[in-house]
Amino acid sequence: MAVLLLAEVTDGALALDATAKAVTAAKALGDVTALCVGASAADAGAEAAKIDGVAKVLVAEDASLGHRLAEPTAALIASLAGDYDHIVAPATTDAKNIMPRVAALLDVMVISDVSGVVDGDTFERPVYAGNAIQTVKSKDGKKVITFRTSSFDAAGEGGVASVETATVGASEGLSEWVEDKVAASDRPELTSAGIVVSGGRGVGSEEDFKIIEALADKLGAAVGASRAAVDSGFAPNDWQVGQTGKVVAPELYVAVGISGAIQHLAGMKDSKIIVAINKDEEAPIFQVADFGLVADLFEAVPELTEKLG
């Protein structure tokens, strides 16, 4: 059994955490070939070769693959699919864009956001915003899968995989990249951070979100937000934790001014330790929190920031 894994490569650099977590999930299915795609991807390929569990690396470099647009990337993966039983990727926004397209090109169903591998055909995945876990058995000859990274530990380093070059076909030029607007930040990436501090509607304004950010910076944490906070314009959408945003599972999750709507819980309830700070003692967030503090966040959060570290 052979597995083709689409490594997460952004502007030529390997996103090691997301890729290594998907490798852990993929190893259970067979020998893993990591595919690094981009306008430049050789450096990412050399990095991927060191991940424990990667048997081989394929590097596909072409100008058309820069920014990993869905159409040429999916066409490339489909052209390589013949040699593999499983075609997998970490469930990043890039992979969620590309992999269903790959599946349709191969006339198979995609299996999105897999949180558990039962066997080569059978997988667990959350549905209904994580309110139910479905076990599905695929009848397709090839399985196209994205793995929910928060459900798997990252594979270690120490591998010495061989690196080969993949042949890239001509692009149809259906789409072109215009620009990226990436928020520059020294903070860790939300889905791989060890600590996440999130604010909700209770924070009240974009201005007041600074107290959330101050606590996060004191802890070396990533900043998250509830959908309510994002909808209210207090925080950017890529901070959103929940069913419609990112799924995180850090060592410590601090929820500030977040009531704990089902859709938010879906994105953070696998965190190891959850702290909730909310002035409403009836807030549902307290039902999942390991430590709850019923307090005015505008007093408690600055005090916590001061007393930590």
């Binding site: 969620k96 599946a103 995609v110 259906l174 307290f286």
Partner: protein
């Protein structure tokens, strides 16, 4: 230009989901059903294109059980012009997989020849996030998923997408498939007069067989279970106590 919007009937997002005790699925009997929230955003975007003079007609399509015509009537009340219901299941518990949905939609598109398809990025029941991408592959069209801004200009569209770490802007060739993310727009509520008017708007009924599509699932659902429940912990009395607890756990 004609805009086609697929809409799905799903459990209302405010309803607490109950997993059936026998593990066969989620209980949908006598549960409030509504239009998938992302599809509402897609319908809204299509109507705004029409209002802006960039589209002439908005056609909504739903694939599933007969009751999905209620969902289509909602879209018509919002302002869509015409609806197509493709009956592909009898039981409300039968979920038609995105691959089969995409194949049926391809059949509809071959007949209707829209210049643009706007779909929701994900249905909140199966959370697959796949139909738009699959449809785009089957048609050989460009795709612009997770859109937060769409600007149509002749035979191209410039679309801003919500991606990990921020926003990406791409330019795609028309016809294209856009999938709607949360911040694309805020859908309107249908007014009572428009709800009344929607009852008279055309709604064609078809079947999956009309498009020659086999809807039998590729994924067999072995079981559906409740996720592991988290236990509530303790309420601490002060920030000092919280800091002490976190230090004790070794997380700070």
């Amino acid at each position: 230009m004609k805009v086609l919007v697929p809409v799905k009937r799903v459990i209302d997002y405010n309803v607490k989901v109950r997993v059936k005790a026998d593990g066969s699925g989620v209980d949908l009997a006598n549960v409030k059903m509504s239009m998938n929230p992302f599809d509402e955003i897609a319908v809204e975007e299509a109507i705004r294109l029409k209002e802006a003079g960039k589209a002439e007609e908005v056609v909504v399509v739903s694939i599933g059980v007969k009751q999905a015509q209620e969902t289509l009537r909602t879209a018509l009340a919002m302002g869509a012009d015409r609806a197509i219901l493709v009956v592909a299941a009898d039981d409300v518990h039968t979920d038609i997989e995105p691959l089969a949905v995409a194949k049926i939609l391809k059949g509809v598109i071959d007949e209707e020849q829209p210049g643009l398809v706007i779909a929701g990025k994900q249905a909140i029941d199966n959370d697959m996030n796949a139909t738009g991408q699959m449809l785009s592959a089957l048609l050989g069209w460009s795709q612009a998923t997770f859109a937060s801004e769409v600007d149509i200009d002749g035979d191209t569209a410039v679309v801003t997408r919500e991606v990990d770490g921020g926003l990406q802007t791409i330019k795609v060739k028309m016809p294209t498939i856009v999938t709607a993310d949360l911040r694309l727009n805020e859908p309107r509520y249908a007014s009572l007069p428009n709800i009344m008017k929607a009852k008279k708007k055309p709604l064609d009924e078809k079947t999956a067989a009309d498009y020659g599509v086999d809807v039998s699932p590729r994924l067999e659902i072995v079981k559906t279970t409740e996720p592991e429940a988290r236990q509530a912990g303790e309420i601490v009395g002060s920030v000092d106590e919280l800091v002490a607890k976190l230090k004790e756990k070794g997380v700070v």
